[in-house]
């Protein structure tokens, strides 16, 4: 019996692996053999046999001035049709016939009008490193690999805010780190931090580089040598404890690797932020990340059992792995969300779960957004939210439609036509108001089906109609490709960004309407000549509120300083969020982008508390990225 269930579990694990591999095919890692120029010692530390996605030199597989893998991007082909290149995603290699019209219609843009990026990284435009020789001398003796190669430094000087990518595309680099180090273990980090303190060097931890809060921007006023501490090589699962269902993992591991490796043992963390292909465990801890399936697995703060962080004062960690403690304020909460200002998270013990037996996508169409929100609220009230439930507004629904790949069979298109006929004509939904919720159920088969029925029953009370698995699945796939789409926009004079907030239930509708309208109005006031895309979706439900995601983009033709306009619009939108009872951030963090609102968000005393912790832990401001405070 036991063996039965374990083989079954193994089966499921394999199946799940296939699913993930479906959209996250990982390349063969060629890490070994390539060392940074400055590496003196051959890396002799034990390394996991498993292959890893991210090599030390990220440029080998990733874009230097855009999102994701170098081989993957959208472009308009000679016929003017949108195509998605590469082989990594379900959408890869497919033609998206609807995208061009949507793009041109939404942004009043022309796909023939191009705003190409600078093709290659011009290393000579990068300012020469400001090196601390004494630090380097001592670092060399430790054998920890490091470099001050321009490309490596540029890669670690930015996250993925629109303004950061925009500058890269124009070949502009501001202050970049002066060198990059790749510790291979907790002990390496201890050594590096000690040396940094000794030689007064500024350290900036770097995980997956997917920040969207300007957290990785080097403070221009920093005169010391800035060392980017890249944790990407600390990527092993050190042990799995099946009795307690925990895994002890090095913090540099990125989401897809962690999930894949655990899956091989039949487990998962269930933590799937939208950036999971590239973001790291340490980064999640440092920003209080949230995963799409938090309804089943919890957010990062619920998943973390034990954290080890290296600070200038020494290492902070708890002495046991008790599931809950009453030992004064939880010190983990100084670490969670510290955004690299206090130290480097090196190892994390995390909860794991057996890979679920069954997974099912679903979707529901609502006549309007109000009904959709009411349904989500009811689902949250009854505490029966599926692993993931997301509600897109009408604009996003239309956008999702534009991303439908070319259908090969006449039959499929016939069925699609029939579906839309049924929804709009028979049921009388207004295609300009209807919106769609995407669902993901997980668990054992029977329970999933039961759960599914419960949710669909609630939905039908709010006028919702089940709209099939396909729509649901496509919705989640979009999550992974949307960042690539921004690059396509930038190729055609469209600049865009997403941002998020959390808000009490009673304000969800108001905040969505007001923020979207504020964006439109700000664009108009700031001289944007074309109507912007301003859309939102509710991505998480909680007992007392929801997480709302906004997307906005506009055609910047005719603007002399599009980035500045863009920043003003984003600023206005954030002010609107705060005025409407939304939080400063649900999971992106504060970084430097949203620092100005910290005081009003957590009060003066709150700021004082955080500052005093910083002053004690890091009096010399070694971790000087100046985020948060």
């Amino acid at each position: 019996m036991a063996s039965d269930s374990s083989t079954e579990r193994h089966q499921i694990a394999l199946q799940r692996l296939r699913i993930i591999a479906g959209h996250l095919q990982n390349p063969v890692d060629e890490d070994s053999g390539i060392n940074a120029i400055e590496c003196n010692a051959e890396d002799s530390r034990p390394s996991s046999k498993n292959t890893r996605t991210v090599p030390r030199r990220r440029q080998e597989i990733m874009k230097w001035n855009g999102w994701g893998y170098s081989d993957t991007k959208f472009y308009f082909n000679k016929k003017g049709q949108a195509e998605f290149t590469g082989k990594r995603y379900r959408l890869s290699g497919l033609i998206l016939p609807g995208l061009k019209d949507w793009f041109e219609g939404t942004f009043e843009a022309n796909v023939l009008h191009k705003t190409p990026a600078v093709p290659t990284l011009n290393a000579s435009a990068v300012q020469p490193p400001c090196l601390n020789e004494a630090f380097i001398e001592e670092l060399k003796t430790t054998g920890i690999p490091f470099t001050h190669d321009a490309e490596d430094r540029v890669f670690r000087a930015h996250g993925h805010c629109a303004h950061e990518i925009f500058a890269l595309r124009e070949g502009r680099f501001g202050r970049v780190p002066d060198m990059v180090v790749w510790p291979n273990s907790h002990d390496d980090v201890v050594t590096i931090v000690e040396l940094a303190c000794k030689h007064n060097v500024c350290l900036m931890p770097y995980g997956g580089g997917t920040s969207v809060s300007s957290a990785l921007e080097c403070p221009p006023e920093e005169n010391r040598c800035i060392v980017s501490l890249d944790t990407s090589q600390m990527n092993r699962i050190l042990w799995i404890d099946e009795k307690n269902l925990t895994a002890h993992v090095e913090a540099g591991i990125i989401g897809q690797d962690l999930e894949r490796l655990l899956n091989e043992s039949g487990y998962c963390t269930g933590h799937e932020p939208d950036s999971m292909e590239f973001s790291s465990l340490g980064g999640w801890v440092a920003t209080r990340a949230s995963g799409m399936k938090k309804n089943v697995y919890g957010n990062i703060e619920d998943l973390v059992v034990h954290v080890k962080m290296v600070t200038p004062r020494g290492v902070i960690e708890k002495s046991c792995q008790g599931p809950r403690m009453s030992t004064g304020p939880d010190v983990h909460h100084f670490i969670l969300g510290s955004e690299g200002t206090l130290g480097v998270v090196t190892e994390v013990t995390m909860k794991i779960r057996p890979v679920p037996e069954y997974q099912k996508y679903g979707s529901v169409v609502f006549p309007n957004f109000e009904q959709g929100v009411a349904c989500l609220r009811e689902v949250a009230k009854q505490r029966c939210a599926p692993a993931s439930i997301r509600l897109m507004d009408n604009e996003q629904f239309q956008f999702g439609h534009a991303l439908k790949p070319q259908v090969s069979s006449i039959f499929t298109s016939f069925v699609d036509g029939l579906k839309s006929f049924y929804i709009t004509k028979v049921k009388g939904f207004d295609p300009h108001h209807l919106c769609v919720a995407t669902l993901l159920f997980e668990g054992d088969r029977e329970k999933v089906l039961q759960h599914e029925k419960q949710v669909y029953d609630i939905a039908s009370k709010f006028g919702g109609l089940a709209a099939g698995e396909d729509n649901g699945q496509r919705g989640y796939m979009l999550t992974f490709v949307i960042a690539y789409l921004r690059d396509l926009g930038m190729d055609h004079s469209v600049i865009g960004e997403s941002f998020e907030t959390s808000v009490p239930w009673d304000r969800v509708l108001d905040i969505c309407r007001n923020v979207k309208e504020r964006i439109v109005r700000e664009c108009k006031d700031k001289g944007v000549q074309f109507a912007p895309l301003s859309t939102c979706r509710v991505t998480q439900t909680y007992d007392a509120g929801a997480c709302v995601y906004f997307y906005f983009a506009f055609n910047y033709r005719g603007l002399s300083d599009p980035v500045h306009v863009f920043e003003q619009v984003e600023h206005g939108a954030r002010e609107e969020i705060l005025a409407n009872g939304g939080s400063l951030s649900h999971h992106h963090g504060v970084g430097k982008l949203r620092k100005e609102w910290m005081k009003e968000s957590i009060s003066k005393v709150g700021m004082g508390m955080l500052k005093s912790v910083k002053d004690y832990v890091d009096p010399e401001n070694i971790f000087g990225n100046r985020n948060l405070l």
Partner: protein, 679 residues
């Protein structure tokens, strides 16, 4: 120079205003029936959730704030929730409108007939209506007409109907509801009725505010109410009431709507229907109760000529823009929004400022007719030459000449003057005189105020000879009527006039001293005129600078170093300006240690006595409006305090302060010793 640039911005002459269009012209040439039945498809709010008046009531009854208060009241009084709910439902029933297009069509037809009869023209700025149309689509709209006459009531609805725009719902005083049939008709044309006072009644307040807010949020219809709360009997703008304004702004503060547009509307009448009624009311004859039969009796007014009406739809004011940097909306984050709460100080200050600026916008776009200027001059003449018999009057040619001079000055000060350019100046003057033949008569080339109708309303006894009091009363009616026309121009001259008075009373011509004196007058008169209360020193300075700028521009004043010097040519202007304030300065010297209720009649009887003895020259001190404002000012300045005693409220007077105040005011006028003896 930077300050120059600032001055240019401030120059009111450069203010751009729209042109007017007469809407009666078309009506005179085509069928009214057809017009009443015309196709009506208004542009609506883009996020409108269509619902009927009945559904609306239901939404209000089931709203969260109402449920909350019902529970609260039920707990406090021990009554069952259902009982309280029924009570709420009854309140709503009493309040709610039943807007019906057919009734509006009927009114449109009837008003059309009436307007054609009463008025020569009804002019409106079509551009303003176009702006309004756009505003209605974008955001919930609140219409804020000035209130000078009952006519205002349906005039706006009539215009909206004519221009195919969403019909407003109108907050009306409960008094109208009492009118048989008419009350119901008004209800069906969009009026909803509110009690005049309901201070402590939580349930009433929440039903009322939720009713208004629900209509606003849903974009059911533009909401219309009168900022001034009641008709201004003096034609001066009244200090705005803030309650309803706060209610319509709150949905924005709480993020329930993206924005709210406030549209000031200035309705100016060449001749007000209620002209003499107002004067009598001010003199203490109680306002006739609104009854249908009273309305029918008032038909005789239909036979007279009331000149023209100008309606100016001001630019929509965005509450969002008005609150920018003024209000931290985060203050609403920490409490469920449906729990009613007192607005914070920050909010109150904002609402008050917005209210005042809206009233000033109304004032600014009020159209002034020649008669308004003439009335000012006639009254000044009356006050300045008291030794002369009132029968003597003013030379017509002199009046024409002075009116033309005043026209020039008013234009310089940015007044919105509608001067008939097609006729000669003397023609314009005489046509104005003939329109107001009830107040002035011309004989032998001299213009004098009419003697007034001696028979008080209701008392039909021409046999007995009039007592001196009756004669005085009759004169005062005419003077107060004229004053109500003069008052229309006050807002144009107010600030320079305050400077003129300050210059007159200040010990020296040093700028600081004049400013101090200006400041003092401002404080005294902030109940009388639309002067923003609680204004900071900076606001004072701005207004002071603005006033000085105007005087300097017209060459009446020089600023040399730190002195303000009146130019030779400016003496006339400044004396005119000063005289404009004189009636108020004089009137304010009346103060009395009498209980509050008695205050007004007592001061009146006192004033009658001193007027008869000839020691007080100002008929306007008989006006209850002026007396009330004076009392409020005295209380505000802590000169008089309310003392709650056994026999109700009495007022205790701080004799020292009264003396000092009177002394300061005397600086401006030759005050009467007799007055102070009483204090």
């Amino acid at each position: 120079m930077a300050s120059k640039a600032l001055y240019v911005q401030r120059d009111p002459m450069l203010k751009k205003r729209d042109d007017f269009e007469d809407i009666l012209e078309e009506r005179r040439n085509s069928s009214d029936v057809k017009y009443g039945l015309k196709c009506y498809t208004p542009v609506l709010y883009k996020e409108l959730t269509p619902c009927t008046a009945a559904e609306l009531k239901n939404m209000v009854l089931h709203s969260d704030p109402l449920r909350y208060v019902i529970n609260q009241v039920s707990k406090e009084t021990g009554e069952a929730c259902d009982v309280v709910k029924d009570e709420a439902s009854a309140i709503l029933e009493e309040m709610a409108h039943r807007l019906q297009l057919s009734t509006v069509r009927f009114f449109a037809f009837a008003l059309c007939k009436a307007f054609k009869r009463l008025y020569r023209t009804v002019c409106i700025n079509e551009e303003g209506l176009q702006r309004l149309q756009q505003a209605i689509q974008d955001h919930p709209v609140v219409l804020l007409p000035s209130h000078r006459s009952y006519m205002d009531f349906l005039l706006v609805s009539y215009l909206m109907y004519t221009y195919d725009m969403a019909l407003p719902v109108i907050a009306a005083g409960m008094d109208f509801m009492g009118m048989k049939f008419i009350g119901e008709m008004l209800r069906m044309s969009g009026a909803f009725f509110i009690r005049r006072s309901f201070g402590g009644d939580k349930l009433y307040w929440v039903v009322f505010s939720e009713y208004v807010k629900t209509m606003l949020r849903n974009g059911f219809a533009p909401i219309e109410f009168f900022l001034e709360g009641t008709r201004s009997r003096t034609a001066k703008s009244l200090t705005p009431k803030l309650g309803l304004l706060n209610i319509v702004m709150e949905p924005f503060f709480k993020g329930e709507v993206f924005d709210v547009s406030l549209v000031p509307i200035s309705v100016s009448y060449e001749r007000v229907l209620e002209e003499s009624l107002y004067a009598r009311e001010l003199l203490g004859v109680p306002k006739p109760k609104e009854t249908t039969s009273g309305l029918l009796k008032a038909r005789k007014v239909l036979s007279e000529d009331y000149g023209s009406i100008h309606v100016y739809f001001g630019p929509p004011q965005s509450v969002r823009t008005l609150s920018q940097d003024r209000l931290d909306r985060c203050q609403y984050n920490l409490k469920p929004r449906h729990i009613p709460g007192k607005p914070s100080e920050q909010t109150q200050a904002l609402v008050s400022d917005v209210a005042y600026s809206l009233v000033r916008l109304q004032e600014e776009n009020m159209v002034l007719r020649p008669w308004v200027l003439m009335a000012s001059l006639l009254l000044q003449d009356l006050y300045q030459n008291l030794d002369r018999s009132p029968e003597q009057g003013l030379d017509l040619e002199l009046l024409t000449e002075q009116t033309l001079w005043l026209r020039g000055l008013a234009r310089q000060y940015g007044a919105f003057l509608d001067w008939p350019d097609s006729v000669s100046p003397s023609g314009a003057v005489s046509s104005s005189l003939s329109l107001h033949s009830g107040l002035v008569c011309v004989s032998g080339g001299r213009v004098r105020l009419a003697a007034g109708d001696l028979g008080a309303p209701g008392t039909a006894g021409p046999a007995s000879a009039p007592t001196p009091e009756e004669e005085l009363f009759a004169r005062a009616v005419v003077v107060l009527s004229c004053a109500s026309y003069r008052n229309q121009v006050l807002h144009v001259f107010l600030r320079p006039a305050l400077v003129a008075a300050a210059l007159h009373s200040a010990a020296s011509t040093r700028k600081e001293e004049v400013f101090d004196s200006f400041n003092f007058l401002w404080n005294v008169f902030s109940n009388e005129f639309i002067l923003v209360p609680g204004a900071t020193l900076q606001d004072f300075e701005e207004d002071f600078e603005e006033a000085c700028f105007l005087l300097v521009k017209t060459g009446d004043l020089y600023v040399s170093d730190q002195d303000l010097v009146v130019s030779e040519s400016g003496k006339h202007t400044l004396s005119f300006l000063r005289s404009l304030l004189e009636p108020f300065l004089q009137g304010y010297q009346a103060g009395d240690s009498l209980s509050e209720k008695q205050f007004v009649p007592a001061v009146r009887s006192f004033a009658v006595r001193v007027l008869l003895t000839g020691s007080l020259r100002c008929y306007e001190s008989l006006s209850s409006d002026l007396q009330k404002n004076a009392l409020a000012a005295l209380m505000r300045l802590d000169v008089v305090q309310k003392v709650k005693g056994g026999q109700g409220v009495t007022l205790s007077v701080d004799a020292v302060k009264v003396h000092s105040l009177a002394d300061t005011l005397r600086g401006e006028v030759s005050a009467q010793k007799a007055l102070h003896a009483r204090l």
